[in-house]
């Protein structure tokens, strides 16, 4: 069990490319940290550096309060699960799990006990004598987790472990990982590009882009108070709508005026923002951040503002229908009930801006 502390980490490759530009993260013992971001944001590089598989150009990594920068992977008391499972093809499941133990000269009887324990925990007892090639994707993933658990590590590292599984299995394994973490309480770092995994698994999420952490916080923080437009649109599915608007001050109350286009009339929605912010941003262009569920068929008298919009396309997902339309000159997505949009080419939607976010148009940072 250990906390993990990452201080001002930088990674520069010999060809001069800087992939990590000063990363600071701190998680407590037993916490589940998610590193999330698009391809090439440096999340896997950071994980490899925590594991000791890549060198640290600058900064310090501490596991359990101990500097590990110069320790090889085997001395860091970590275990890692890989996207491609990385099971040793010539060894049986049993041998795969025992490999690390035997290299550390764990006595045979202890090895057998450990194998029995993790096999029971992950329900892979019937598979112990099979080769990796004889296993399905989900079984391989379980074995890979078993191999990692056998180490009894201080720190668990996952590198996109579910990306190679089909959708149904992915959901099952996600729940399984969450259960295991609840039960064992091992500090975990988990890399993913899937924001649903990030939201459901993490105690803390670090959203990364181009080697910089955009925001580090709890899933709720990340979702409801994204620090900039990148985080706002990256987390959440469908993504948050960003609508150009102008802040107006009327008798001390703030409004966002959205310009009309050929399909929609200009409208004003009330904003719940501080009088300071109103004073600073009055008559300035901003981006109004509205989640799809904040532009819906759900009318809240006195709060929401109604608008008629043309339907460009709808996607019915079962419980919801996603309506693609345009407002203020940009494409937006709205979440409605399927029956509200069945067979119509215009729909009446209600904008509930009571939890709307406002972003600075030039810097992309959240104002309110």
């Amino acid at each position: 069990m250990a906390n993990l502390s990452i201080k001002n980490i930088r990674k520069t490759y010999p060809n001069g490319v800087e992939v990590l530009k000063g990363i600071n993260l701190e998680i407590n013992d037993g916490e589940f940290l998610i590193l999330v971001g698009g391809s090439g944001c440096g999340k896997s590089t950071l994980l490899n550096m925590i594991a000791g598989l890549e060198t640290v150009s600058e900064g310090e990594i501490q596991i359990g309060g101990k500097r590990v920068n110069d320790l090889p992977p085997k001395d860091r008391d970590i275990a890692m699960v890989f996207q491609s499972y990385a099971l040793y093809p010539s060894m049986s499941v049993r041998e795969n799990i025992a490999f690390g133990l035997s290299l550390r000269k764990v006595p045979k009887s202890e090895q057998d006990a450990t194998i029995a324990r993790v096999a029971k925990l992950l329900q892979i007892e019937p598979l112990l004598d099979r080769r990796p090639a004889q296993l399905s994707g989900g079984q391989r993933q379980r074995v890979a987790m078993g191999r990692a658990l056998a180490r009894e590590p201080q720190l668990f590292l996952f590198d996109e472990p579910l990306s190679n599984l089909d959708a149904k299995l992915r959901v099952e394994m996600r729940a399984e990982i969450k259960r295991l973490h609840k039960r064992l309480g091992i500090t975990t770092v988990y890399v993913t590009h899937d924001q649903v995994e990030a939201m459901t698994l993490g105690d803390k999420i670090a959203v990364m882009k181009e080697g910089v952490i955009q925001q580090f916080g709890t899933p709720d923080d990340i979702y409801s108070k994204p620090s900039n437009t990148f985080v706002a649109t990256f987390m959440g599915s469908p993504p948050m709508n960003l609508i150009p608007a102008v802040v107006e001050s009327r008798n001390g109350a703030g409004f966002a005026r959205i310009a009309g286009d050929e399909n929609s009339p200009p409208i004003s929605v009330p904003l719940l923002i501080s009088s300071n912010a109103i004073a600073v941003y009055a008559n300035r262009s901003v981006l109004l951040g509205l989640r799809p569920e904040q532009v819906s068929d759900n009318e809240r008298p006195g709060v929401s503002v109604a608008v008629d919009l043309p339907v460009a396309m709808t996607e019915v997902t079962g419980a919801d229908a996603m309506v693609f339309t345009s407002l203020g000159g940009v494409e937006i997505v709205c979440r409605t009930q399927p029956r509200s949009v069945a067979g119509t080419d215009r729909v009446r939607l209600h904008i509930d801006a009571s939890h709307a976010l406002v972003f600075d148009e030039s810097t992309g940072l959240r104002v309110v």
Binding site: A51, L53, K74, L87, S90, L103, R104, P132, R147, D159
Partner: protein, 282 residues
Amino acid sequence: MTKLSRACVYAVLILAALYTLAPLWVMVATSLKSLDEIRDGSLIAAPLAPTVEPWLKAWSSACTGVRCEGLKPFFWNSLLMTIPAVLISTFIGALNGYVLTQWRFRGSEVLFTALLVGCFIPFQVVLLPMARTLGMVGLSDSIFGLIFVHVVYGLAFTTLFFRNYYVSIPQDLMKAARVDGAGFFTIFWRILMPISGPIFVVCIIWQFTQIWNDFLFGVVFAGADSQPITVALNNLVRTSTGVKEYNVDMAAAIIAALPTLFVYIVAGKYFVRGLTAGAVKG
């Protein structure tokens, strides 16, 4: 497919097979005939009174220049040269392939390209510099010198084989092994070697055929006592004491070709399998 077209296919295949096998048949038939029968009979006729006399003579008493001990001593020379040369070049090739794919370093691609060039250098080009080198390190005129030359010359090919086989092994496997605490050689022995069977077979067949059949290096770098069988066969065929003994020549040629034939028959199916085997999944 219609019956007619199927018949045509078989006809072509059989013709091709006959065309390929005819020389072998002539060799085998001639090697079992006495000289009298060869003079009187037809080239492709089966031996009327088969005799192993020519084979025995080719093996143990035919003259290769001034020595008249048959091919036997040279056969052993060839084995003594080929087996170590094949094993050493294959093993180093495997290590090279492992390093070039799994432990990439600055300039590893350049190094690999440079090694590849080695595949295209004709034997004749390296004869003189190699002779100088062997002289300087004191390996001239010996089996060890031949082994050295064949190892050096084979490395380009064996490295290429193993590099192309190992390049499909995911990097994650190496990372997992390193996290488990395995070092450079542990990973090589315990993880890569057990899955390298097919490419070892390909490499060994290739190297065995190349080295066993080599004539040029043998004739240039071997001493009188270390000549390989290919050189001895040439001497045997060119040495005559009045009468040209075609039956002995043919038997000697077959003896010289037997080991490679044997290797192909034993490992041939793995050869094809190894050439087509690609990614290691699992």
